[in-house]
Structure formats: structure tokens, C-alpha cells
């Protein structure tokens, strides 16, 4: 029965007012709001930082691999079936040079029983773990290495008692510069140091070696003409095909005694290893996030209990149940979003700091940023749902009586 009076319109809250209404509680208790957002912020920051740091260090490794190239292969003498150390055939490197797709070949031979010392007064057992290797002048070009001081061996110096020291070998022997003529005691002879090399990331065995030429090695150091390790640089596209041909080509009689490997695989393996440990840290971040979400739910439940009179007042002013629910849900979403934004910012800052310190490229994956924000929103929604429903179900008369 309307008696001619117009039907009263339903209760209505403008969308533009939802946000200010949702912040009433946050503005009333900013410290509590800040602390409850902090939980989510820590979780998101942990996840973003873990993903960012992992990705940055991987980017660094990938850049290293790119720089060093994945087209370097090594051929090493293996062991015979009887367990004795096998030798590579003397002609192995010449054979390898004929394989299609091979650009450079550089044989080396570790000279067993030959050591290098700073002077002839050093006791012979104090070899410092340094090896002496005979090599070809083509080694530097094959490995794309660089000379730090002096020069590398050339066909002339390779015939005389001259040596080039690997980066670690020079350090171990205490030779930092070559301003003065420098000699070392090598295999019972004085050898002049003509060069010191930069480190070889793909051939670390050379860093701890003193390199001499093949001619002088045969003449004075008892080299028998069999290489022990051959470096092969290939055309990048043909690397896998060449790798399969290395063993049968190097030693057609006993291909099983030859080990062919790709040094860059070790770096690739390190990337995989880093990804594996990331999982653990991500798990910890997820736990922090969960705890943060529970913190928000907790604060929201307490807020609903404390703000019964406000809920009653809003109902008296005309708020429908849905409006009360929306208000608390928006508040929870806001808390989580603030936490998410702070977390993403902190995670990015941590990543940038660590990457700068380690001289890595800074790389924060966009999926971590967006994923972090979406996760925060989802947590806010879940954490706010129950308190919002409780607030909406509260009878206005009960809410107003509870003072």
C-alpha cells in the first residue's frame, strides 16, 4: 500500500566513495595498518628479491658464456681398459684439424715429473701445485685468451728456454710484472719468462701452468710427442656435430680412451644449480606471505569487533549489507596492495643493491613484479572475505547496543 507516495529508491554507494570509505579504518589507526601491511611487504620483497637476484646472476653467467662462447671443445686422454693412463696419438691434432667445422686446434701436453720453481734453491717438493705444459703458439688464438704482461710464445721463442705463465702460476711464483728480465727454474733449467696470461675461465687448468714450446720440451724436458689435452674451436652451429666426431677422429683405434667435453657446460650447469636453490628461498618467501596474509585477516577481524558501533551507525545512515561488506573488503585489499607495492619496491632495491655489489646486470623479472602485486591482491581478498561477511551479517540493533 503506497498511498500515492513515490517508492523510495534503494540504498546506493557511489563507486568513487568506496575508496575513501575503505580508508576510514586505516586513517584511524595508521600504525596498526602499517604493521599489518608490513607482513605482506616482507613476503613479497623476499620473493621479488630472490627472483631478481637469481635472474641477475643468471644473466651474468649467460653473458659470460656468450662472451666465452659455447663452441670450445676439449679432447683429453682417458684411461685404458687396464687402468693405465692412455696417450693421445701424436697425429691426433692434425686429424682433428681436418674435421669439417673445426676452426682452430691447439694441442697441449702436461709434462709429468717436470716442475717450475722461482729459483733453483727451492726444495723440489715445494712445487706449489703448478704444472708445466708444452703448447703450440696457436693456443692463445684457439682459446681467445689475452696476455696480461709481455707476449705469448711464437714459433721462434717456442724453440728456446722461454715460458709464459698462467695467471695463478705467476701469482704463486710471486711474479707480478716483467719490467726486469725474469727467470724461473723449470725442469732443471733456467727459463726466461716472456709473458703472463689473463685467466682462462673455460680452461682453468692453464691458469696453474707454466707453458713452454713443443720444440724446447722435446729437446730439454723429455716430451715424447703425445699430446694430453687438445683444445678445439668450432663453428658455433656445428659444435654438437663436431663433438660427436672428436673421439673417433683423435684415436680411431681406441675412441673409448678419449674424453671429449664442452667446458661451457660447466657454466650452464651452474645456472641450473642456481635455479634449484631458488625454489627453497621462494618457498620461504611464500611462507612469509602467508603469515602476512593471516596478519591482515587477524587485524581485520579485530577491526570488525572494535568497530561494531561504526557498522551500526552506517546501517542507520542507510548502508546496505553489501556496502558494509564492500567497505571492509576494500580496506583489506588496500592493506595488502600497500604491502605489495612496498614489497615490490623493497625487493627491487635489494636486487639492485646486490647486483651492483656483484657487478651483475640488474634484472628484475616483470613476472615477479606483477606476480607479487597479484599475489598481494589475492591475499587481501581472501583475508578480507570472512571479516567482511561477519561485518555485513551483524544486525544493526546488536551493533548499536554494543557500546
Amino acid at each position: 500500500m503506497s498511498r500515492g507516495l513515490p517508492l523510495t529508491p534503494g540504498s546506493r554507494l557511489r563507486a568513487a566513495d568506496l575508496l575513501p570509505v575503505g580508508t576510514v579504518g586505516l586513517r584511524a589507526r595508521p600504525l596498526r595498518a602499517g604493521l599489518s601491511a608490513l607482513g605482506v611487504a616482507i613476503g613479497i620483497a623476499a620473493i621479488v628479491a630472490v627472483l631478481g637476484i637469481t635472474r641477475s646472476s643468471q644473466a651474468d653467467l649467460l653473458a659470460q658464456i656468450d662472451r666465452l662462447g659455447t663452441n670450445l671443445l676439449t679432447v683429453v686422454n682417458g684411461r685404458s681398459i687396464e687402468g693405465q693412463e692412455a696417450e693421445l696419438p701424436a697425429a691426433a691434432h692434425a686429424m682433428l684439424g681436418r674435421v669439417d667445422g673445426v676452426r682452430h686446434v691447439a694441442p697441449t701436453a702436461q709434462l709429468d715429473g717436470v716442475s717450475v720453481y722461482r729459483t733453483d734453491k727451492v726444495p723440489s717438493f715445494q712445487s706449489g701445485g703448478l704444472a708445466v705444459r708444452a703448447c703450440d703458439p696457436a693456443l692463445l688464438a684457439t682459446l681467445d685468451g689475452r696476455v696480461r704482461h709481455g707476449t705469448f710464445l711464437n714459433p721462434t721463442t717456442a724453440r728456446y728456454p722461454t715460458t709464459v705463465l698462467g695467471y695463478q702460476a705467476a701469482k704463486t711464483l710471486g711474479i707480478a710484472a716483467l719490467d726486469q728480465p725474469t727467470r724461473v727454474w723449470l725442469g732443471g733449467h733456467w727459463f726466461t719468462v716472456v709473458g703472463i696470461l689473463d685467466p682462462f675461465p673455460l680452461a682453468p687448468e692453464l691458469d696453474r701452468s707454466a707453458l713452454v714450446g713443443f720444440p724446447v720440451a722435446s729437446r730439454r724436458l723429455g716430451y715424447d710427442g703425445h699430446p694430453s689435452r687438445i683444445y678445439v674451436r668450432t663453428d658455433t652451429e656445428q659444435t654438437p656435430a663436431v663433438a660427436g666426431l672428436l673421439a673417433p677422429t683423435a684415436d680411431p683405434q681406441h675412441p673409448e680412451q678419449v674424453q671429449a667435453s664442452r667446458p661451457s657446460d660447466a657454466l650452464t650447469a651452474r645456472i641450473a644449480a642456481k635455479s634449484a636453490t631458488t625454489g627453497l628461498f621462494l618457498g620461504l618467501g611464500a611462507v612469509a606471505l602467508l603469515v602476512g596474509g593471516i596478519g591482515i585477516a587477524n587485524v581485520m577481524v579485530i577491526g570488525v569487533l572494535e568497530r561494531r558501533s561504526e557498522i551500526g551507525l552506517r546501517r542507520a545512515l542507510g548502508a546496505a549489507r553489501g556496502h558494509v561488506a564492500a567497505q571492509f573488503l576494500v580496506e583489506s585489499l588496500l592493506l595488502a596492495t600497500i604491502g605489495g607495492l612496498v614489497g615490490v619496491a623493497a625487493g627491487t632495491a635489494i636486487t639492485t643493491g646486490v647486483a651492483h655489489q656483484q657487478r651483475w646486470p640488474v634484472l628484475v623479472p616483470t613476472v615477479a613484479v606483477w606476480g607479487g602485486l597479484v599475489a598481494a591482491l589475492a591475499i587481501g581478498a581472501v583475508a578480507g572475505l570472512y571479516p567482511a561477511m561477519r561485518a555485513a551479517r551483524l544486525a544493526p540493533t546488536d551493533a548499536l547496543r554494543s557500546v
Binding site: S11, R315, L317, L400
Partner: protein, 229 residues
């Protein structure tokens, strides 16, 4: 005269053992422009009756009509719409939001009518000026005296231009001088055309109203304006 509030044989029972029945068989009509006091000792069912008239609760029996609409038959959104558009409520405890200024507290009275923000504040300013608080717009509730706070609450109840303002013990938290000022304000508002129902146990306040409805044990036992249509 147009009736704005009609109660026919209204009863309210709260289940329990034994069930509580704070309001029973109340029939009461408030017409436009009236200044009504509902008086009675504590426990007489005044607040329950006010909640029923304010559409904050639904009767167990009988019919409550607000602005011609039977509230028992309406959805939550429609009843809420009645509260937003047709009813204004003033509470003993004021219920102001501490984090908002006086102006924003009053503007909140229009929030659930869907009025835009600038218009809300314009009307809120007018409403505060109407209760004599035009100089206190930016103050937080904590910076206002008890009398001023209750005036802010009255301005909030008036801002939506309701058909009736219901006040629950509006002077309950005020000293006698402030209380007298507030009664003067209520009388002035009534002369301007505001329909008012004031629930009180204070005989002085009740005496200042033009009609007294006396409540005892949930029933109307006296109505000075009962003879009016």
C-alpha cells in the same frame, strides 16, 4: 495530515527462555510536522520501539509503515534505502567518526543516497549552519564539546532531508544547561517543519514536546495526542 510513521499492533519478541517481549501491541501514528516524545522508565521498551521505527529492526508481529511502505515486506537494500532517504537517527552516544571532521561526519549522512562528494559537503555545510555550528566545520569530534557533538549528529540526521528524525535519549550524555539548549534547537527545527520523535526518560525534555506518548512494559499507556487523526 500525511502520516510518516504508522505502527499497527506492533510486537517484538526476542527468543530465549523465557522469551523477552520488550514491545507488545503498540499502535501509534506520527504525522508530518509533529514533535513527539516517547517517555517511559528504563526497560519500558523505548529503544526497541525506536529501532523498529528507524527500520533498523523488523517487528515479530504487526505492521510498521515508514513513508507509506511496509518494512517487513522489503529487501535489505530497500529498507536501507528508506533509512538513507526517509529517516534520520540521533543517538545518545553521538556515534561520530573520530577520524573525520564535523563537515565530513555530516556529509556521511548522504553517503548512502549516492550523492556526489562536492554536493554532500555543500549540503553538510548548510546543515551545520542550521544547527548553529557553521564555525566548527573543520573540527574533529574530539575538539568539540558534548553539546556540539550532539548538534553535529543532529545536522547529520537532517542533511538527507528525511521525513522524520528519530532521537534516542539525545540529552542523555549532556548536562542540564546544554540539554535545555538542545531542546530549544529541537523545538526550532520542528517550527521549520521537521517531524521529530524523541525517546527519553527525562520528563523535562518530554514536557517540552507537543505530544507525549507514555510507554510502560512495552505497551502504550498514555498518549496526549492520541485524539488527533
Amino acid at each position: 495530515m500525511t502520516p510518516v510513521l504508522e505502527l499497527q499492533q506492533v510486537g517484538k519478541v526476542y527468543p530465549g527462555s523465557p522469551p523477552v517481549e520488550p514491545v507488545r501491541g503498540v499502535t501509534l501514528t506520527v504525522t508530518q510536522g509533529e514533535l513527539v516524545a516517547v517517555v517511559g522508565p528504563s526497560g519500558s521498551g523505548k529503544t526497541t520501539l525506536l529501532h523498529l521505527m528507524a527500520a533498523l529492526d523488523r517487528p515479530t508481529s504487526g505492521v510498521v509503515r515508514v513513508a507509506g511502505q511496509v518494512i517487513g515486506a522489503l529487501s535489505d537494500r530497500r529498507v536501507s534505502g528508506l533509512r538513507a532517504h526517509r529517516l534520520g537517527v540521533v543517538f545518545q552516544q553521538f556515534f561520530l567518526l573520530e577520524s573525520l571532521s564535523a563537515l565530513d561526519n555530516v556529509a556521511a549522512g548522504l553517503l548512502y543516497q549516492g550523492v556526489a562528494g562536492a554536493e554532500r559537503r555543500r549540503l553538510a555545510r548548510q546543515s551545520l549552519e542550521r544547527v548553529g555550528l557553521g564555525h566548527r566545520l573543520g573540527h574533529r569530534p574530539t575538539a568539540l564539546s558534548g553539546g556540539e557533538r550532539q548538534r553535529v549528529a543532529i545536522a547529520r540526521a537532517l542533511v538527507g532531508n528525511p521525513q522524520v528524525v528519530l532521537a534516542d535519549e539525545p540529552t542523555g550524555n549532556l548536562d542540564s544547561a546544554t540539554s535545555a539548549n538542545l531542546v530549544t534547537l529541537l523545538q526550532a527545527l520542528n517550527r521549520q517543519g521537521v517531524t521529530l520523535v524523541v525517546v527519553t526518560h527525562d520528563q523535562d525534555v518530554a514536557g517540552a514536546m507537543s505530544r507525549q506518548v507514555e510507554l510502560r512494559d512495552g505497551q502504550v499507556v498514555g498518549d496526549s495526542g492520541g485524539g488527533r487523526p
